[in-house]
Structure formats: structure tokens, C-alpha cells
């Protein structure tokens, strides 16, 4: 009999949560106190604070992954549409999301937008909210609109629980999420410092746990992991340090993350489950809560393809900053096949990276990609090239024929 270490125990727990497509944790949370409600949301960003303030559990729904056989969902989507909407529908149609009392669709792309309408038709008994966010970052313009959007959500949820949500409740939830973001940020900082101690496959699972656990519990779990993993002796490898980007919506299979790591890359930053660190600064928890959330969104939030960059100069700044502050040596663009936002954004980001002489490589995946060999090979070649051309400047513009920076190569899965 083997005894698991504390780290193993935490990671195993996260793994169980991750693999549980029946959302047992959510069901248990609801069953613990009668009348509890849970609201699902799709990836990128929704203000979970408002859901939490209603006393509801916000549940991140990130598609079906590679363990779900998609049968019914495929009948709703043509072959040239990404996988996450079809596997999410599959989850809904097979009753796996019955534990949710509502579903929120953040404003990311046309697929999610239309999925919100599909949900209205297919699940008429559930609360459905398409959550629009402003692409105008002026307080009294986009900010006003956004405060109204949040207010509408607040009222809807207040009605659902039979009692309006107060400012105090909202501020208390803002504090809870500030703390959660602080913990995630500690985790990310730790990984960037000692990536061998906090492999990305584990960090990913920890974040996934945050999709189904109450934030207070998740925060605790992260801190326990950090304390535990730091005590664990782990081998340090001579890996290339990379930022993974483009995976903000449909998630890569866990095997893909592991493959990238095994091929010789330490992922030191990424854009998985951005909702956990969308707001970059602590949100003041003693003011007008919706206004503070709005300001945080407008002026201090992460950049993704789902957001408009008001000037050309802003394009890629966030990514370059990720590279520099995390001490990365290159960028791996990993985007879901048929993902318009990620794939349209990519050439601009690549151009910015090239100007900063930061090497990159690019490939596509689907949540059910099974064949990892081509990705492992490409990531491996990329890692080797970084190590070989350790002078970053020369790696960005390798000599003719050098198998280094894949300027626009796509390994289609």
C-alpha cells in the first residue's frame, strides 16, 4: 500500500472533481442546505461576485473534455464549429446540468452568443443570461452600461432567491473573490518561480477545482497546495520557460498540457480559466460594489481576444508583460480549432512578439484531441530551439532552415 503525500492527495481530489461530469460536488453543496441554488457560466469572464452574493454557487462549465462522448450535441453543430458548444449541449441534454438553476453566457464570440439563444429554447425552465460586457472603457459610457447589466443580473438573482441582494452582501463577496484572486495570483507567482514544484498540469487541475467549489474552499485548497508542494522534493529539469495562450475558452485536454510539459516546456503563464484572475487589482470592498466592479473591469482587467484594444499600441502588451514578468523565453499559441477570436487575434500577437524578439510556435487542438504526438514533437522542437538559441534575440529570427520558430505553422488536430 502506498501512502499519498499531501500534494498527491490535493491533486487527486482536484482530478476527481475534474473528471466528474455529473457535478457531484455541486449536487452535494446544494443538498447540504435546502433551497441552495447554483448558476453555471461558460469560460472567460462573468462577475461571479454577484452570484455569490445571492448565496448561490457559481459553477464554471468548460465543455465536456475528452471523456465525454458527444452524440446529441453533434447533431446541433456543423463540422466547422468548435467543440465546446456541442459538448456543453451534450452535458445539458444528458441531464448532467440539471443541478444548475441557471446558466450564464459571457460575451466572447458569436458561437456563445447563439448558444445562449439555443439554451433559451432547449431549456426553457432554466434561467438564461447572456452577459454582455462593454467594449467601451469610459466610465460614464461603457461603465454605465455595464453597471446596468450587472444590476439586471443582481435583480434577477434577487428574485430567484426571493430577497434583493444588498450592497453589504456584494461587498462581502467582493472580499471573498479578492482573496481567491490573491491565492490564484500566489499560485501563479510560485509556479513562475519554481515551475518544477508546481507543474502546470497540477495548477490547471487546481483552477478547475475552483470551477465547482465555493470560492472560500478553493482559496484554502490553493494555499494548502502551495504549502504542501513547497515541501516536496521534485526534480528540476532544464526546460524552456513558455507562456501558453489562446486557450481561454474551449479547454485543451489535460494530456495536451502534460505533453507540452513532457516535451521540455515549463508553462509559466497561461490564459486558462481567466475568470479566476480577470480582474488584475484588488477590488475595493467598501464602496458602491457595482461601480467598483465596473471600474475594475474597465481599467484593470486581463486582455483576451474577446476584448477590444482601443489602440494599436495596446495590442499584445498584456502578453508581452506575461512573458517578461514571468521570465518566459517563448510563447506557445494553443487555440481551439475553429476558434475565431483566438485565431484572428494570433497574427497580431505574433507580430508584436516578433518585434520584441520573442520566439513562438502555434498549434490548434480540440477538447477531445487524442493524438498528442504531433504536438509533443512541435513543442519539443520549440523547446530545443529556445535552449539552442538561448540568446532570445537570435531565436526570434533564426537562420534560414533552422527548425525553430514556427511563424505560422498550425498542427491541426
Amino acid at each position: 500500500m502506498t501512502t499519498a503525500t499531501p500534494v498527491q492527495r490535493i491533486v487527486e481530489r482536484c482530478e476527481r472533481l475534474f473528471e466528474d461530469l455529473d457535478f457531484t460536488a455541486v449536487k452535494e453543496w446544494k443538498a447540504a442546505v435546502p433551497g441552495r441554488k447554483a448558476i453555471g457560466y461558460m469560460p472567460v469572464y462573468v462577475p461571479r461576485e454577484i452570484v455569490h452574493a445571492a448565496g448561490f454557487l457559481p459553477v464554471g462549465i468548460l465543455g465536456g473534455g475528452d471523456n465525454l462522448e458527444v452524440i446529441q450535441g453533434d447533431a446541433y453543430y456543423q463540422s466547422y464549429i468548435c467543440r465546446i458548444p456541442r459538448s456543453t449541449l451534450e452535458l445539458g441534454l444528458t441531464g448532467r446540468l440539471d443541478c444548475l438553476d441557471g446558466m450564464m453566457f459571457p460575451s466572447i464570440c458569436d458561437v456563445i452568443r447563439n448558444l445562449s439563444g439555443m439554451w433559451q429554447i432547449m431549456f426553457p425552465d432554466k434561467y438564461v443570461k447572456y452577459f454582455d460586457v462593454p467594449q467601451n472603457y469610459v466610465d460614464n459610457v461603457g461603465g454605465n452600461f455595464y453597471v446596468h447589466e450587472m444590476q439586471a443580473l443582481r435583480e434577477d438573482l434577487g428574485k430567484m432567491r426571493g430577497k434583493p441582494i444588498t450592497d453589504e452582501e456584494l461587498n462581502a463577496s467582493i472580499r471573498v473573490y479578492n482573496d481567491n484572486r490573491a491565492a490564484v495570483s500566489e499560485l501563479y507567482a510560485y509556479r513562475a518561480q519554481k515551475p518544477w514544484q508546481a507543474p502546470t498540469s497540477e495548477v490547471y487541475l487546481l483552477l478547475r477545482a475552483g470551477m465547482v467549489l465555493p470560492p472560500e474552499e478553493h482559496t484554502k485548497l490553493i494555499r494548502e497546495y502551495l504549502a504542501a508542494t513547497d515541501k516536496e522534493p521534485r526534480a528540476r529539469r532544464d526546460n524552456a520557460r513558455v507562456v501558453m495562450t489562446g486557450s481561454f475558452c474551449e479547454q485543451p485536454p489535460l494530456a495536451l498540457i502534460k505533453s507540452v510539459e513532457m516535451s521540455g516546456c515549463y508553462v509559466v503563464d497561461d490564459d486558462f480559466m481567466l475568470v479566476t484572475r480577470w480582474l488584475l487589482k484588488e477590488v475595493p470592498a467598501d464602496g458602491n460594489p457595482l461601480e467598483e466592479l465596473s471600474k475594475a473591469f474597465l481599467h484593470h482587467s486581463a486582455a483576451t481576444a474577446a476584448k477590444y484594444d482601443a489602440t494599436r499600441a495596446e495590442k499584445g502588451v498584456f502578453l508581452v508583460k506575461q512573458v517578461h514578468t514571468r521570465g518566459a523565453e517563448g510563447v506557445v499559441f494553443a487555440a481551439p480549432s475553429f476558434c475565431d477570436p483566438a485565431l484572428l487575434e494570433r497574427p497580431m500577437l505574433q507580430d508584436v512578439l516578433a518585434k520584441h524578439k520573442i520566439p513562438y510556435t502555434a498549434f490548434k487542438y480540440a477538447e477531445n484531441t487524442g493524438q498528442m504526438a504531433p504536438i509533443r514533437e512541435q513543442a519539443g522542437t520549440f523547446a530545443d530551439s529556445i535552449k539552442l538559441w538561448s540568446d532570445v534575440a537570435s531565436a526570434a529570427r533564426p537562420p534560414e532552415g533552422a527548425p525553430t520558430v514556427a511563424r505560422s505553422a498550425e498542427v491541426s488536430q
Binding site: G142, F145, A305, S337, L344, K364
Partner: protein
């Protein structure tokens, strides 16, 4: 996405004089816009680029901009068989094979020396007015152009009608952006001061043309339909959806067109096709989704050869939904512009789109629904299979699905499309004779068929 396409010449039947008027007028308008763009620099005019759905043509005219519409350029290049090369050039330049081909056709055209579809040079715009209506790709498209050419961009964010209605917060947000971002931005770039009375004047003109357009589109309720509400309608919507709405020329075009169509009704004629007047009207269809441009003529022929006329389409509403009552309102200019942007077809949620199609089937007494799902456009395509099921369920009329692309010739398989269409027409015929489906009286008792 949308259309300004020169009406093809009639090859067989000689068109009557009045029809010639509308056709020639339309062609002249389209060519004139390309000429204006080509000559803008010499004429000292500033150039704007903006998208078709929710375009603010009246507003842009207030600042004397020459007006380019990149989707229109892409589709024109598609019709002229130039888009295939442009798309491949853009892909070689690092653009993914998976993304909207309008974007790649446009970027490829720029790489190829910025020569427009008519062979005239296309000036680099002075401003990209990013009216972010109905499609997320728009945002990336103009960011891509801005990134390449460093052209100033003005963003007008139009919220999505996710609840099937425009709530006051949405309208206020758009109006505020117009007041605080768009109008000051356009003033600065053009050097022209904003004059709201000028805007009102253009909007008055728009409303007149809109009235006539609706009358033309709704003429398809007649039997036989005097127009094709899809293949023909893309010509009719050209001027109003693009650089001409608000001009007296557009008003003139639509009143001429209306008179021509009324004449056809009096004569009991069906639609005009590229090969002359259409023969007997055998099937009346509603079409959802944009057309394919690279094989437009072949595609259309597959319909009229079989006697199928499209009596209404959702695509012909992509640049504005006038048939449910919206008109540009000179008395409330900015609010009206906001409602116009908010009300574009692809800015409607799926339930509203389904309602609209069901309504068309009923009002135009259509035999069924055909969906042309284009690979490029998630805004249209993601969700269409549910539209198909729901419409079948609610109307009892048969629906069919074909797949093509807008301007990528690699995604038009003529044989496949033809096969699908033929079996669809069979299905419609069968359903008619057997009478299966709600609201349809059996013509023959089923046992005898």
C-alpha cells in the same frame, strides 16, 4: 456581410424599358461608389471604411467621407473569382484556414496592391468605423487592418439583443457612444463640424427609400412572386445597405424599382433571372443564411431551373430589418440610429430569428425553409441546425440544409449542393401531395399515393 452586386445582364428575354431603368441605375450607383473611392484622394476627400450591418451611412455623409465597405469588396471579389487567391495569400501570411474568409479576402486584396474589385485603386481609409453589430469578427477584422496600416479606429459597441428586445440601457449606451466617441472622432478626422440638421435630412431620404424597399420585398407575397427575395434581393438591397442610403439617388432608385415591380405584378410575371423571366413558379421557399458569391450564378440557376423562387430571406435583412416597421426617424436621429444598429438581423437572438422565419413561412405562404450554412460565418451559422428543427416543428413545413462558403471557392461543391436541392424539392413535392404537416390539407388521401 452583404451585397452590392451589379445586376447580371439578361441573356434571353429582352427586358422592358422600365426594368432597364432600375437595373441600370443600380449598376451606375455601384460603379460610381468605386469611382468615388478611387478618386477620393485627388478630390481631397477623406475615406471611411465600415461594416454593412448597422452601418451609419447617414452619419458618415455628414462628414463628407467617401465610403468603403470591406464586406462588399470581399463579395465583389468573390463574384469576380478573385477571392480564392486573396484568401490563400492571407493564409500564407499567417492567417488561419479556420477563420472568416471575408477577412482574408480583404487582407489578401490589400496585400495584392489594394486594387479594388472593379480594377480601380482602393484608397487606404482615414478611419475605420467599427460598428460592432451582429458579429465579433468585425472587431478583429478592423483591429487587424489597424495593426497593419495604423489607421485610426472608432469603436461603436452595439449590445446583443439577447432577450429579444432593445432595453433602454442598450439604446442609451449606443447613443452615448455616438455623442461622446463617434461624432467627435469623425469630426476630428474629417475636419467637418457635425450638423444634426444635415443628418435629419439624410434620414428623411432614408425613410422614403426604406418604404419602397419594403414594398418591393413584400411583393413576393403575390402569386407568382414578381421578385426573387434572395438571389434578386441581394441586388435590391445593394444601394440601401451600403453607401447610398440617405441619398436622393437611392430614393430615386427604389421608387423606380417599385414601379417596375408593380408593373410586373400587373403583368402577372415572375422574377427576372440572369436568363430572363423565370418560368412557372413551382416552389416558394424561405432561405436563411448568406449566399455563396463565388458560384452565385450557378447557385441561382439550380433554383430557377427547377421553378423554385425564394419569396423571402433573412439575408436580405442583414443590413436592416425594415419589414417589421423600423424606419430611420429624423425626429429622433441618434436614438433611431441606435435602434437601427441594435435591430440588425444577426444582432437578434436565436428565438427571434426562428420567430421571424416562421412568420415568413406563414405570410409568404412558403413551402419550406432552406438553410445555406456558410463556413465563414459563425454569427449566422452556429445554431442553424436548431433553427431548422424548430421551424420544422412549428410550421410542419420541410426544411433542408446545405453547406457552402461566402467567398472561398474551395467550399462550394456544385454537385453536392445540386443533389441536396433536388432531393429537397422532391421532399417538398411529396409533402404537398401527401399533405403531411401542420396546416396543410391533404390533396390526396395518403393511402392512394
Amino acid at each position: 456581410m452583404n451585397a452590392v452586386v451589379p445586376m447580371p445582364e439578361s441573356r434571353k428575354a429582352k427586358p422592358v424599358a422600365i426594368k432597364d431603368d432600375a437595373m441600370n441605375l443600380q449598376k451606375e450607383l455601384i460603379n460610381r461608389n468605386y469611382r468615388e473611392l478611387a478618386e477620393a484622394r485627388q478630390a481631397g476627400r477623406k475615406v471611411s471604411a465600415t461594416f454593412v450591418p448597422g452601418n451609419l451611412n447617414e452619419l458618415l455623409m455628414c462628414f463628407d467621407f467617401a465610403r468603403s465597405l470591406p464586406e462588399t469588396n470581399a463579395l465583389q471579389n468573390g463574384m469576380r473569382k478573385k477571392s480564392g487567391k486573396f484568401i490563400m495569400d492571407a493564409e500564407r501570411d499567417g492567417h488561419s484556414e479556420d477563420v472568416c474568409t471575408y477577412v482574408k479576402a480583404d487582407l489578401g486584396m490589400m496585400m495584392g496592391g489594394e486594387i479594388g474589385p472593379t480594377g480601380d485603386p482602393m484608397p487606404r481609409p482615414d478611419v475605420l468605423l467599427l460598428s460592432y453589430t451582429g458579429c465579433f469578427t468585425f472587431m478583429k477584422w478592423f483591429e487587424l487592418i489597424r495593426h497593419k496600416y495604423d489607421i485610426p479606429t472608432l469603436m461603436l459597441h452595439v449590445p446583443y439583443q439577447s432577450q429579444g428586445k432593445i432595453d433602454p440601457n442598450m439604446r442609451q449606451y449606443v447613443v452615448k457612444q455616438l455623442k461622446e466617441t463617434i461624432i467627435p472622432g469623425l469630426e476630428k478626422i474629417s475636419g467637418v463640424k457635425f450638423d444634426i440638421d444635415r443628418l435629419r435630412q439624410y434620414m428623411k431620404e432614408s425613410a422614403k427609400a426604406e418604404e419602397d424597399l419594403v414594398s418591393v420585398l413584400q411583393s413576393a407575397k403575390k402569386r407568382p412572386s414578381p421578385i426573387d427575395g434572395y438571389f434578386g434581393a441581394v441586388y435590391y438591397i445593394g444601394p440601401i445597405f451600403t453607401a447610398f442610403r440617405g441619398t436622393p439617388e437611392a430614393t430615386h432608385y427604389y421608387s423606380t424599382l417599385r414601379a417596375e415591380i408593380e408593373q410586373r405584378i400587373r403583368e402577372g410575371k415572375g422574377p427576372v433571372t440572369p436568363e430572363g423571366d423565370m418560368g412557372e413558379e413551382k416552389y416558394r421557399l424561405i432561405v436563411e443564411g448568406p449566399p455563396n458569391w463565388t458560384s452565385f450564378r450557378d447557385f441561382w440557376k439550380m433554383f430557377y431551373d427547377e421553378g423554385a423562387v425564394v419569396v423571402s430571406s433573412t439575408y436580405s435583412k442583414v443590413g436592416g430589418l425594415y419589414d417589421f416597421g423600423f424606419r430611420h426617424d429624423p425626429d429622433n436621429p441618434l436614438e433611431s440610429l441606435a435602434d437601427y444598429c441594435l435591430g440588425c438581423y444577426t444582432n437578434l437572438n436565436l428565438p427571434s430569428r426562428i420567430d421571424m422565419i416562421c412568420k415568413y413561412i406563414e405570410e409568404y405562404e412558403a413551402d419550406g425553409l432552406l438553410i445555406n450554412s456558410v463556413k465563414s460565418c459563425n454569427s449566422f451559422s452556429a445554431g442553424q441546425l436548431l433553427i431548422l428543427r424548430e421551424v420544422e416543428k412549428r410550421t410542419g413545413k420541410p426544411a433542408a440544409f446545405i453547406e457552402t462558403d461566402l467567398v472561398d471557392p474551395r467550399y462550394f461543391s456544385a454537385a453536392n449542393v445540386k443533389n441536396r436541392l433536388e432531393s429537397y424539392f422532391q421532399m417538398v413535392k411529396q409533402k404537398r401531395t401527401t399533405g403531411i404537416g401542420a396546416n396543410v390539407k391533404p390533396v390526396f388521401p395518403i393511402a392512394q399515393v
